[in-house]
């Protein structure tokens, strides 16, 4: 006798495995309702209905509890029934424990459907009307019910499962579906509208307000509190029941707080306070009081005080990343003049005027302290305490005005991690100002290369420097300025005919000339009383107007004698 080929011995096991895989794959088909088998733990062996099609005349023989809704009798046969045939003689023995009703959150009722059909005049509903395997006409080729069959008949007639938010028509709230394991909940299919870009910012709130009952099919209160620190104040969140399974699933997952488009608009740093005062509840959807600390410190006044506080281990709320103090954008150093002049925002909200001197009073180099160190007291003389993460003196008490009691220092920021520092700037926009290095506005090497910047006048040197007492004084000391009244073209040696050409340069950059040349230098040629008597006035010069306002300046060229001395 030929020995049996060894692989044949593995056929039954291979077939069983294949069947099991097929079963699992079938159960995982898209469109399976929430609560369908995938991931529901150990796969149970399923009864091969189709192979027994000729044996059982009616489904109710094995599922006699269906018409009555008695779940204990949904599977009214067991191993003993199988053993009548699969006794090891006539048929191989099988082991098929009595299945239990599947964990589900379906609100489906067989008796009610039977009753409805009867009321509608239908004799009965064939089981295969719902349980037929798609594409098959053979009896007992059955599968689990497909959601499409439900939504095809029911009132909303949605084009597909998950296309409607009327979930409660077929499903129970998650909190009531206590038999569903957490793993199954984690695998709930995700409706397509959840994928829309604005779902978090706009969509989910609107839907929750409109029909939180539908949300409750998949979500519990913990689903919302993962991001919403203000969940206790939101009706839809309160309407959801807490659920320990969901709590476990969201534990450790960071909240999601995408920035709304409004936050990217110009001037948001100025406008957000107005919005906050008008509707702080909206801010509270994402922000905790600590969110404001990046710019406002930990002083919780006004609308900030109404924001929720983060609790340890809970969501932090959206973090605010400040590129500097509010309104102090990347090009603040050279561009803040207009806003300061227009008083928007009020610099005095955070600064005292003397702090401007840290940069603006550049009467000497090497000095100056970092701005922002002194707070302006409010109209009652109070000063906000600084317990901001960036403060070296985070435990300082608040200021006290006359007659005021000492204010209780506000609690420190709940978030252990300080807000991330914003990007820094280099070069002329660099960190020297912010860090106080060299105590001033310019980088360390600026004085060595400041010539081009002075001619370009991107910022006015005279905002901070005296042209005479600082610029010219230094240039004279460095041998770069014309001393006394000596005028030669030795310095400007790149222009061979400098004396003939200098008029154009002078009119284009007279303030640069004045940073080296004294007035007397020019009077050697441009006085009306001596020298070459070259008229320096341009065609639009109005002598009468100037004489009416400062006849003394006219006198420098037109009357004073000392300038004529060699």
């Amino acid at each position: 006798m030929r020995p049996r080929r060894s692989w044949i011995r593995w056929l039954p096991a291979g077939g069983a495995t294949l069947l099991a895989l097929l079963g699992a794959a079938t159960a995982s088909l898209p469109g399976a309702p929430p609560g369908a088998p995938p991931g529901s733990g150990q796969p149970e062996p399923t009864f091969p209905h189709a192979r027994h099609a000729g044996l059982f005349p009616t489904c109710l023989g094995c599922h006699e509890g269906i018409p009555s809704g008695d779940t204990a009798l949904f599977f009214s046969v067991g191993q003993e029934t199988c053993s009548r045939c699969h006794d090891g003689v006539e048929q191989v023995r099988v082991s098929l424990p009595r299945p239990s009703p599947r964990a589900s959150n379906l609100a489906f009722s067989h008796p009610r459907h039977i009753e409805e059909a009867s009321r509608a005049g239908e004799a009965s509903i064939e089981c295969q009307a719902c349980h037929r395997t798609p594409g098959s006409e053979r009896r007992m080729e059955v599968a689990g019910p497909r959601p499409e069959l439900c939504v095809g008949c029911h009132a909303h007639r949605a084009p597909s499962h998950l296309a409607s938010d009327r979930c409660r028509g077929c499903h129970r709230p998650l909190a009531e579906a206590t038999t569903l394991p957490a793993a199954l909940i984690a695998d709930f299919p995700r409706p397509r509208w959840h994928e829309r870009p604005d779902f978090i910012l706009v969509g989910h709130g609107e839907r929750a307000s409109r029909s939180v009952a539908s949300c409750s099919v998949c979500h519990a209160r913990e689903s919302c509190s993962r991001c919403h620190l203000n969940g206790a104040a939101l009706d839809p969140v309160r309407a959801l029941a807490p659920d320990s399974r969901v709590a476990g699933l969201v534990s450790g997952r960071a909240g999601e707080w995408p920035a709304p488009p409004s936050h990217a608009a110009s001037g948001w740093e100025y406008l957000h306070g107005e919005r906050a005062r008008a509707a702080i509840g909206t801010c509270a959807n994402c922000h905790a009081a600590a969110s404001c600390a990046a710019c406002h410190g930990s002083a919780r006044t006004g609308p900030i005080a109404e924001l929720p506080r983060a609790i340890p281990g809970g969501p932090s709320g959206a973090r605010v990343r400040a590129a500097g103090p509010p309104g102090h954008g990347p090009r603040f150093r050279t561009g803040h003049g207009i806003a300061a002049g227009a008083r928007l925002p009020r610099c005095s909200s955070c600064h005292v005027e003397t702090e401007c001197a840290a940069c603006h009073d550049a009467s000497v180099s090497g000095g100056g302290m970092v701005p922002g160190a002194l707070a302006r007291p409010d109209r009652h003389g109070r000063v906000a305490a600084d317990t901001s993460p960036g403060s070296a003196e985070g435990d300082t008490a608040a200021g006290r005005a006359a007659g005021d009691t000492v204010r209780t220092p506000p609690p420190v920021s709940e978030t252990a991690e300080p807000p991330p520092a914003g990007p820094r700037r280099t070069g002329d926009e660099g960190a020297a100002w912010a860090e106080g290095l060299e105590g001033g506005f310019h980088p360390m090497d600026f004085v060595l290369r400041h010539g081009a910047a002075a001619f370009g006048r991107r910022v006015e040197c005279s905002e901070c420097h005296s042209s005479e007492a600082f610029c010219r004084s230094c240039h004279e000391r460095q041998g770069r300025a014309a001393e006394n009244r000596q005028v030669t073209q030795a310095f400007h040696d790149a222009e061979p005919d400098w004396l003939l050409a200098h008029g154009r340069a002078a009119r284009q950059g007279l303030d640069e000339c004045a940073s080296c040349h004294r007035q007397s230098s020019c009077l050697r040629c441009h006085s009306a009383r001596a020298g070459l008597r070259i008229d320096p006035h341009g065609p639009d010069f109005d002598p009468d107007r100037i004489a009416g306002r400062s006849v003394m300046s006219c006198g420098i060229c037109h009357t004073k004698e000392q300038v004529l001395r060699p």
């Binding site: 608009a265 090009r331 970092v370 991330p420 005479e468």
Partner: protein, 490 residues
């Protein structure tokens, strides 16, 4: 308050600084005042230019511009001398300043005192004003109550005309919410001087410096509409105390507004004496997709000169400039990129010869990249500025690390090519600096030290050399809540 003969005041200021720095913080932690005191020192090496000459007949060649045997370019005056500039010896400069800045509340609601004092000295006279020993930047009383605010003393004004201080009174009324009115009057001070125009500082710098103090009178009206639109109009007149002549008469208008996502800024400063717009700007900041921010600006600028000088009578011309800048915080990263540039064109001067090579325009570009992550920071920049009188092209880079909020250490390198002041030859600046900051024992220590190499092309009289620069500063807060930065001001 200013001048060279303020030695007693200087001594007091120095003693005050020393006392504050040495005073136990616990004693000063009273609730009635807060302030900051510091001392800062800068060291640098300088190499002044010195003028040299030879009799004209000893220099070969002819013409106004010739070369010496070592190819030094000299400028000659017929029958006189040929002159040129060469490097002098290297000199050391050290400048030290001490500052005290404080705010105190009096016990009367709304009444406070503000003071900012500065004392300084230097090792020699190479650095301007190193020898001035004491000055008061501000020293005023402030009464801020209800709809009014009054100030008396040396105080600063910050408005569309700029930043300047004066000795006198200022009053503010804000009783009608959208509107704020301010007026001030007193003795004016020279800008950037903290001293009267008639003082020693200007007298030493110019033979025609004013011999009389100035009086200042100013008015400002401001209004705002929510936080979307605000503007101010400022008028200021500065006149000699003998009323014989004006020093300046100017106006300024500033407005800023937010229209949808766009922020618009506009400003004009106008010189009533010369009927000249000194500075006019219109700027728009537009957010673009992906977090990009675009800034566009148009500007007209004509220099302003006070009437005690003759410069305004020389009919300076202005320039018109257009510029743009883009800032892009790269999403998902800690990288911030910036790009900017501008072009300016000068008005016709009606002066100089037609064959001059002096250009009548200028341009600039810059590119920056900044990155921070987990305490590290790095950045790089490139900038080019080409103008009619001076140009520079170069860039820099920095790398450093922050150690929490209490320490920082970094290095910075730079390299720049320069052409300047219509001078022959090109300069090259390369260098690097180490910089750091440390906060300990309630002290804030900052310091930096750098070596910079200056190279010169086609300038035999100015050899290459390397200079050392350093800065060291220490400051400490005192009083209550000394580091408060988010005030509850109105």
């Amino acid at each position: 308050m200013s001048g060279r003969a303020a030695a007693p005041g200087s001594t007091l200021a120095l003693l005050a600084c020393a006392a504050v720095l040495a005073w136990p913080a616990s004693v000063l932690r009273a609730q009635g005042y807060r302030g900051q005191a510091g001392a800062f020192a800068t060291y640098l090496e300088l190499r002044p230019l010195v003028r040299d000459s030879l009799p004209e007949d000893q220099v070969p060649g002819d013409g106004l511009r010739r070369r010496l045997a070592d190819l030094t370019v000299v400028s000659c005056t017929p029958n006189e001398y040929c002159r040129w500039y060469r490097s002098g010896p290297v000199r050391d400069v050290a400048v030290a300043t001490q500052e005290v800045r404080a705010v105190g509340w009096s016990g009367i609601a709304g009444l406070s005192a503000h003071v900012h004092l500065r004392g300084r000295f230097g090792t020699d006279d190479l650095w301007p004003r190193a020898d001035q020993t004491f000055e008061a930047l501000t020293a005023y009383l402030d009464y801020d109550h209800g709809d009014y605010r009054f100030r008396a003393g040396r105080q600063y004004r910050v408005n569309g005309l700029g930043y300047y201080n004066f000795d006198g009174l200022a009053a503010t009324w804000r009783g009608f919410d959208p509107l704020t009115l301010e007026a001030w009057a007193g003795w004016s001070l020279g800008r950037g001087l903290n001293a009267p125009r008639s003082g020693d500082l200007l007298a030493a710098a110019d033979e025609f410096a004013p011999d009389d103090r100035g009086l200042v009178l100013g008015l400002e009206a401001g209004a705002h509409w929510g936080r979307r639109l605000a503007g101010t109009v400022v008028y200021q007149r500065e006149i000699r105390t003998d009323l014989d002549a004006l020093y300046a008469e100017r106006m300024a208008m500033d407005a800023t507004g937010i229209a949808g996502p766009v922020r618009l800024d506009a400003s004009v400063t106008y010189d009533l004496s010369f009927r000249e717009v000194n500075d006019a700007r219109l700027r728009a900041r537009v957010p673009l997709p992906a977090g990009v921010r675009l800034t566009l600006e148009g500007r007209h600028r004509t220099p302003f000169f006070e009437l005690w000088t003759i410069w305004g009578a020389f009919s300076p011309v202005g320039f018109n400039e257009g510029s743009a800048a883009v800032d892009w915080p790269v999403p998902g990263t800690d990288l911030l990129l910036g790009l900017g540039g501008g072009y300016r064109s000068y008005e016709r001067t009606g002066a100089g010869t037609s064959f001059t090579t002096i250009r009548d325009d200028g341009w600039r570009v810059s590119a920056t990249a900044d990155w921070t992550h987990a305490g590290w920071y790095a950045g790089g920049s490139y900038r080019a500025e080409v103008g009619f009188g001076a140009s520079s092209l170069g860039g820099g880079a920095e790398l450093g690390r922050r150690f929490g909020d209490r320490a920082r250490l970094g290095v910075r390198a730079t390299s720049t090519q320069m052409l300047g002041e219509f001078r022959f030859g090109e300069q090259r600046l390369t260098g690097a600096a180490l910089e750091g900051r440390l906060k300990m024992w309630n002290l804030d220590l900052t310091g930096s030290a750098g070596l910079y190499h200056l190279g010169f092309d086609e300038s035999p009289g100015t050899p290459d050399w390397t200079q050392l620069r350093g800065f060291l500063g220490v400051s400490r807060p005192f009083g209550s809540g000394p580091r408060a930065h988010a005030g509850g001001g109105r």
